[in-house]
Symmetry: C2
Subunit: 289 residues, 2 copies
Amino acid sequence: MRAALECFPCYYSQILKTARMMSLTEEQTREAIARFSGLLPGLPDSATPAGIGRELYLILSELSGDPDPYRGIKAHCTRLALDMYPKMKERVRSSRDPLKEALRIAVAGNFIDFGTSEQVNLKAGLEEVLDQEFFIDHYEELRDHLDKVDEVLMLGDNAGETVFDRVLIEELGKPVRYVVREAPMINDAVREDAVMAGIDRVAEVISSGCVAPGTIRRFCSAEFWQTMQDAQLIISKGQGNFEGLSDESLPIFFLLKAKCVAVAREIGVPMGSLLLLSPRRKSCTADSG
Amino acid sequence: MRAALECFPCYYSQILKTARMMSLTEEQTREAIARFSGLLPGLPDSATPAGIGRELYLILSELSGDPDPYRGIKAHCTRLALDMYPKMKERVRSSRDPLKEALRIAVAGNFIDFGTSEQVNLKAGLEEVLDQEFFIDHYEELRDHLDKVDEVLMLGDNAGETVFDRVLIEELGKPVRYVVREAPMINDAVREDAVMAGIDRVAEVISSGCVAPGTIRRFCSAEFWQTMQDAQLIISKGQGNFEGLSDESLPIFFLLKAKCVAVAREIGVPMGSLLLLSPRRKSCTADSG
């Protein structure tokens, strides 16, 4: 999906917020604003929000001199999520439809995102999301598709959310390859975050080769893109992956919360909607089925 | 004052809002974003919010092909304000301190600003501001200074607000030169707006030569800047004039509402504060006297 007009004020708010998080000085933050602004006129018309967010973060990261300034936050979120893991497993066990419940838990975990939300009160926020119905729910289609495939490729999103993804992986009943970013990008999961969440015990952890807050074809490794093309079923978590992949013709089920007006409008749903979108119906306006 | 970090997200929000107001297409708005972004790296470090706002508006105005897209809005605001003029005059007449009441009315009029507020419900908003106390009030000093001068230079701000400025002019008891922008800039008052408000009947209307949402020395005509330097007493209305003039050493009393976090922090007051600042104490943090 192409970056929306509303993305631009948001980028600058993100620069300020992320710069504070990285403890950049005011002058460094001004330098980041100037460098990022200088890039914008040269971007291709089709640039995705995640692709532009990548540029923003790389500038901030370079100025901070720390290749992984969110390391502590990511570990903190993962620990909090691990504390909740037994309760999540219990929810799945006691559910009439464990796979459905695991999908709900996995999308609930998607609310952990320092890129779009100022602060996260993990446990309270999670309970709220767990009580929310999917606005678009192509669950039947996912279940049918899952029955027919030999394995699943799952695209991870944020660290911490990884623990909730693990709950889903454990219910899929198929071998899973779990995809992480190649290198730190905001609070997105890299290999060590997936390992800390215990994903490596239930899936093969692989890298997309991509250093962006999403999965964007031109930044992925050739090897990984071949894996995408060969995949029988892909489950993509979160907005960033959706932004990069929404125009690709691949068997992708998107599992996400529409956290901002640009993505909500692109899909045609209210902001805050929980979504499970099938590959055939990525974009729906009046389907809450 | 120098543009604050918070100004940058705000510029992009203003581009979107103003582009909608001007009925620009999405592609024109993207063009405006690209052109404006391209300018930012080249701006001097000392650029003021009003100076950067000027660039933004000139780009949008050029793309719209209309040199005065706020013409209708300005006339509408002026008519609404003229409807309220008799009531304002009555407030002044029945006040124990008519000059003080006229200052309050003039600063209340400053809340008319499409640059910083999404929508204006003129009458309701005005009543609210009229009930608000000044957070910093150097009234005694202004009154004493006024006694000693032969004339006053008053720097206008938005159209509509001009009518409230007229109420103040009528209480100053000295000849007034009232300063407007040289050419349309958002909803700022130009000569025709001042004339529509009846200012020409109570003051001499002159141009600053400046085409910016404020009074910025380097954009003013040499003739006008000489007038500034010769002035015995200047009353400056609104944020835009403050932003451009806060670092000048001139006998300026600033009469404004601190509408945004950047200006409020620069002055050291809560957002939304009504302010009458003397030239000697432009910046105060703990003075509500």
